[in-house]
């Protein structure tokens, strides 16, 4: 490709579980010009994002042609119940069915109401819409919720009741209203209702974030289109994201996979992203992240949102190393701050750890390796004597208890080992010290022995205090009477084993429950699957050799990937590719995706009243319905219309010259889904 004039600079931002990364990239040459890292601020992600936008080196802000973010905001807000309050109005749903199948907990809001109406699976009105009841209910709950979600039975086939209810509600109140049929053409009624409710609860949350990002961009004089990554790794403009925030679920891991592909230029590979908190797997096929057709799940909620097919495990560089119940070393799933980092911030910690190695055995228990420390002071209005509230008077964080305030007071003097803290607070167990809420609100951090510390000891990654790590490891090994070198090897072996296990589970789609390795190899455990797995890893059998081979290369992403993954690739007999800048591939992925819009239209028969005769065919294009006598005419019309709409929406969403691919599915019953997918590179313009 010929490059004319100045290269186009693009800024990608990713908010991960531990870090928020930004990367400035020359789009055409894929050259990373600058990168910047900041801690993710879970309590308000916009703080971390503002930090990286302000911190990254930018020579000429005017040269930036696009900014794009991938964010865990939607996923976090759902998981932590931080979304806005939503009333979900269900039209034509059977209340008894919902309660019989225990699906009320699925609906993602406690405020749901049933109304008469809805359609059947041929789009015929099942019951007249009870509009007066809906309006009376809306007037009653208007002040108690922030948004309304509507889902009508079989609305993808016939959205008439959703539309009529929407028009009437918009006539009497100003709350934002989300319609189920505009988010999903799938027929699953509960998933559609859940998706609509989640989308409604996230509208203001995501809009606030984008406004914060826009402000930070403005302060740095960056005037460029703002894009947001979807859960399948594609991009949408901030205008679209503001309407369909639910589509950003899982966008972080999807962006990593796209970034890995972009930097490595490989079109078929397994992407393994090793972060601080989790390791995520995704598969690239034909240059695209594979997408799960089932809809993304978050916590207990099943949605009908398309997302990348991902596998996430609680293992990362900052996974806590402890002694497990099975008398072996255990890695994760909890994430803690590495002692190397803590001692680098607070030199006194190193001396304390050194002193620990000199103590007698019974006074050097491993709980002395666990530290709590103050991350930040409670500000005015938070954590004081009164609870903090938002501008509508709702409680954001409850006031701190006396015990919590005592703990903060204690930690003002610096980090302290947990046994000391417990003694001073006069409690026996950590659970009594009131630390959980303080950790959740990011006032207090936990530190301990991590894989990152072991990397410091071996000198493979040593940016902080390696001496502190060495002392801590010495104390840990002394207590359990194990050779430090050997135990370190055990940790690495265990981590490789966990990652290989995740890869096998992810790709095979079959669960494999591991148990004690030695019992499996000795034959005490008769399970063949487990034996096969362990024998392939450790070649224990004298006569039978088994092995696992991954037919695709592994693309390693994330700072610790170069350390954790060579063993994994060796065990799986494949190649490990670590692209340059693989440490920030997640942020690269935020800008490397294409802009994609998918339009799906339904074609289904129009039946006579007795249901015995086909009178013609409907083309249902969201709100518009067209009628045809012949199926062929209906299909031809649906193809043309979906293509036209996909292209229009892609251009509106910021794509330059999108290309369209068509797909047709039939789900039986003479019903067809005509799907047009328009994909283009983002338009880099001002």
């Amino acid at each position: 490709m010929e490059i004319e004039g100045e290269p186009s600079l693009v800024l990608g931002i990713d908010t991960g579980g531990t870090y928020t990364d930004a990367v400035l990239l020359e789009y055409e040459t894929r050259r990373v010009v600058a990168a910047y890292k900041s801690l993710t601020t879970k309590r308000d992600l916009s703080i971390g994002i503002e930090n990286v936008i302000e911190g990254i080196q930018i020579q000429d802000p005017a040269a930036i042609k696009m900014v794009s973010i991938s964010t865990t905001l939607a996923t976090n807000a759902i998981a932590e119940g931080k979304g806005k309050r939503v009333a979900l109005l269900l039209i034509g749903y059977d209340p008894e069915l919902i309660s019989a199948f225990n699906m009320a907990g699925q609906l993602a809001t406690p405020h749901y109401f049933f109304f008469e109406g809805g359609h059947d699976l041929y789009g015929r009105e099942k019951q007249p819409l009870d509009l007066p009841a809906i309006l009376a209910r809306v007037n009653e709950i208007r002040g108690m919720v922030d948004a309304i979600a509507l889902s009508s039975y079989f609305s993808p086939l016939n959205p008439d009741h959703e539309n009529r209810a929407y028009r009437a509600i918009a006539g009497i109140c100003d709350l934002p209203v989300v319609l189920g049929h505009q988010l999903s053409t799938k027929l699953g009624s509960v998933e559609r209702a859940t998706t609509a409710a989640l989308n409604a609860s996230l509208l203001a949350v995501l809009q606030d974030l984008m406004i914060a990002v826009r402000r930070a961009m403005e302060r740095r004089h960056i005037d460029a289109p703002l894009m947001v990554v979807r859960g399948d790794g594609t991009l949408m403009s901030d205008e679209f994201a503001g309407r369909t925030p639910v589509e950003t679920i899982h966008s972080g891991p999807a962006a990593s996979a796209i970034g890995g592909r972009f930097l490595s230029r490989l079109d078929d590979a397994l992407v393994v992203d090793v972060g601080g908190t989790t390791t995520d797997l995704a598969l690239i096929e034909g240059g695209q992240v594979t997408v799960s057709e089932e809809g993304a799940s978050v916590g207990q909620y099943k949605t009908s949102v398309k997302a990348a097919n991902l596998y996430s495990m609680g293992l990362g560089g900052d996974s806590h190393i402890t002694w497990g119940h099975e008398k072996t070393v255990q890695v994760g799933p909890e994430r803690v701050t590495p002692l190397a980092y803590l001692a680098w911030l607070y030199p006194a910690v190193e001396a304390q750890l050194r002193a620990l190695t000199m103590r007698t055995w019974s006074r050097a228990t491993p709980d002395w390796l666990e530290y709590w420390f103050l991350l930040r002071e409670p500000q005015d209005g938070e954590g004081g004597l009164s609870p903090s509230r938002d501008d509508r008077g709702r409680v954001l964080s409850p006031s701190l208890s006396q015990r919590e305030r005592d703990l903060i007071e204690l930690l003002r003097a610096g980090p302290q080992p947990v046994p000391d803290i417990l003694k001073q607070l006069k409690v026996l167990r950590p659970a009594q010290a009131g630390v959980q809420e303080l950790v959740r609100q990011e006032f207090v951090g936990k530190a301990g022995l991590t894989a990152t510390d072991l990397m410091h000891i071996e000198g493979r990654y040593a940016v902080w205090n390696a001496e502190a790590s060495a002392m801590a490891w010495k104390a840990f090994c002394q207590f359990y009477f194990i050779d430090p070198v050997e135990l370190r090897q055990q940790v690495w072996t265990q981590m490789s084993e966990m990652i290989v296990h995740a890869i096998v589970t992810f790709l095979s789609g079959r669960p494999l429950h591991l148990s004690d390795r030695q019992r499996c190899l000795d034959g005490a455990d008769e399970d063949m699957g487990r034996w096969f797995f362990y024998n392939s890893l450790y070649h224990a059998h004298p006569h039978l050799e088994t092995s696992l081979r991954l037919c695709r290369p592994i693309i390693g992403i994330g700072a610790p990937a170069g350390i954790f993954l060579p063993d994994v690739a060796r065990i799986l007999h494949t190649e490990l590719i670590l692209p340059e800048h693989h440490g920030v591939a997640n942020a690269v992925g935020a800008i490397a995706g294409s802009v994609m819009v998918e339009e799906e239209l339904l074609v289904y028969p129009r039946l006579s009243h007795d249901g015995l005769e086909v009178l013609g065919y409907y083309v249902q294009a969201y709100d518009e319905r067209r009628e045809f006598e012949e199926l062929d005419d209906a299909l031809a019309n649906a193809r043309a219309l979906s293509r036209e709409r996909a292209v229009g929406a892609a251009i509106r969403s910021g794509a330059s010259s999108p290309e369209v691919t068509m797909e047709e599915l039939t789900d039986g019953l003479d019903t067809y889904r005509i799907r047009a997918k328009a994909v283009g590179n983002p338009r880099l313009a001002r």
Partner: protein
Amino acid sequence: MELERIDTKRAYERIRERITILELAPGSVIDDGQLAENLGMGVVPVREALKLLAHENLVIITPRFGLYVADVNIPDLERLSEVRLALEGLSARLAAQRATADDITVLEALRTEQANTPAKDSRRLLDLDHKFHQAIARTTQNGYLADSLERLFGLSQRLWYLALPQLGFLPSAVEKHLELVEAIKVGDGDRAEQIMSSHVRDFCDQVRRVLAGR
């Protein structure tokens, strides 16, 4: 093609509300930097929003004197009333001819809500009145008419806020609405037009008196 920016939309809504409820006084100078600061928003979206509001005659942009909030005065009121009188009347007539059962349901829900709102809650009552007029305009199924009326209503609502301290909310308006819904329900276009016109005329007369007394 410039994409619609999410922050511009929000800035537009907030500034429009401040102008309507006179928090930004008629005729006052607008400092866009200061305004952005007050709203907790960026300067770029605030400027974009002000351009949109200039289009609606709520903000005046002059090359020499900068930006200011459009003033209100009696001549403006008269011209505004001429157009509203004609168009609101037309709106009511067409509504009576074209109303569907859904439209009637909405009008009745608004009327019930209005009856249940205490007289001292004038903000809410004004909001309901606005929604009532919007609902009738929508019932005409004429988008051009609804758009024109919406713009005029925005200007006229500001006058109402100006007169509000002297006027209070008009209890007669609630009764008028009741009669109007009945007329639309039975499809009596003449009667609907007549009620609406006198409703608008009353309003203008009252505001004129307050403005003249200033």
